[in-house]
Symmetry: C2
Subunit: 210 residues, 2 copies
Amino acid sequence: MSEVIAQLSVSLDGYLAGPESGREHPLGIGGERLHDWVFGLRSWRAGHDLEGGTTGPVDDLMAEWIERPGAVVMGHGMFITGETPWGDSPPFHTPVYVVTHHPRESVPKAGGTTYHFVTEGPEHALSLAREAAGDRDVSLAGGADLVQQFIRAGLLDELWLHIAPVFLGGGRRLFDHLGAVGAGGEKPVAWRKTQVLDSPEATHIRLRPV
Amino acid sequence: MSEVIAQLSVSLDGYLAGPESGREHPLGIGGERLHDWVFGLRSWRAGHDLEGGTTGPVDDLMAEWIERPGAVVMGHGMFITGETPWGDSPPFHTPVYVVTHHPRESVPKAGGTTYHFVTEGPEHALSLAREAAGDRDVSLAGGADLVQQFIRAGLLDELWLHIAPVFLGGGRRLFDHLGAVGAGGEKPVAWRKTQVLDSPEATHIRLRPV
C-alpha cells in the first residue's frame, strides 16, 4: 500500500512559522530562513521552473520527495496562507485534498494540481488521496494541526524533519498537541531514524515510527 | 576568556523532561530515553566510575564536555531535582553555582564538587563561575529557564543539542520563552552549526551564535 509521508522545516525551538504568520506573512516573521536549505537545490528549482542548482544527497532527498506523492492532503489553514503564493501553477502537480469545514467546488490549476475540499475529516481526505494516488504515496503537506492529528492516529509512515539552525522565539509550533506519553496508547512514542544528512542551512532527519 | 557552554538532550517535540518531572521523576515520564545516547560512552562511564564503553566521535564529544569546564552554573529547579540522584559524589568535579532565591551554606561533596548558592542572579553566578574556572570554561547545566535567560542575554558561546528520536508529548520545554524575533535585539537569532554527528539514539548538533 502507498505510504503517507510528511516533510517539515522547523526551527531549533520547534516552530514551523514565525510570529504573526497568516495570509500576509505565510511563514511569519523570520520564517523564510527555515526554508533556506531548499531554494538552491536543482530538483526544487526544476519543480519551480528555475534552472541550475546544486546536486548531492540533500538534492536527492528533495527529488525523492517530489517523485513519490501521487496526491496531497493539506489542512485548511495551510491552504488559506498558501493559495496566493502558490498561484496559478502550484508546485504539487497532483490532486490536493484540503481538510476544511467549508464546502467548495474543486479548483483545477495549471500543471496537474487540483484543489479538492473535503468536509468529512482528515481520514476521509486521506482515503480519497490514497485512491487518487494509486501506487504512489500520499504527502501530508501540513499544517501543524493536521500533522499532529496524523501522528496521534498513527497514520504517518515517514516523517522528514529539516531542522534549521535558527531560533524564531515564537510563532506556530510544529508539535504542540501530541498528547502525553502513554496517555492515548495509539501514538507511537519512539521513532527510528532511517537517514540523517547535514547541510549548512539545515540538519535533515528521516524517521519512521517503530 | 573562558567560554560558556551548554549541552542539552531534547526530544523531537522539544522537551528536555517528560510529563510530571520533579523530585520523584527527575526526567519526567519517558524522559530517560533522551539520555540513552550517553550511557554507553566510555568517557561518560569513566566519569561515573564505570568500566568499558564505546569510543568514537560521540565519545570524543562527551570527553570534551567533561574536560572543558572548570565550574558549573545551574538553576535552582535543576538542583532540586538532581541533588538526590547525583548523591555524595556528583559528576561535576568542579564548583557548581546554583542560582536561587534561597540563601544557603555551601555544600562540599566528594570528588571536587561543591555546591554554592547564589542569590544575586544568573549573571553574578556566571561571574563567580568564571573566576573559579580560571582558564577553563563554564558549563551551563540547565534547566530550561536558565538556558533561555542565557540565550536571551547573549551569554552562551556554544550550545550542544542532542536530539533524541522520541516524542514525549508533554513535559518541560527547552525553548519556551526566548522572545519573538527582533523583539529584544539582544538575542542572536541565527546560530552556526560547527559540528553535526549522528548516533542511533540521538543527532548531535553543535552551534555557536553568529
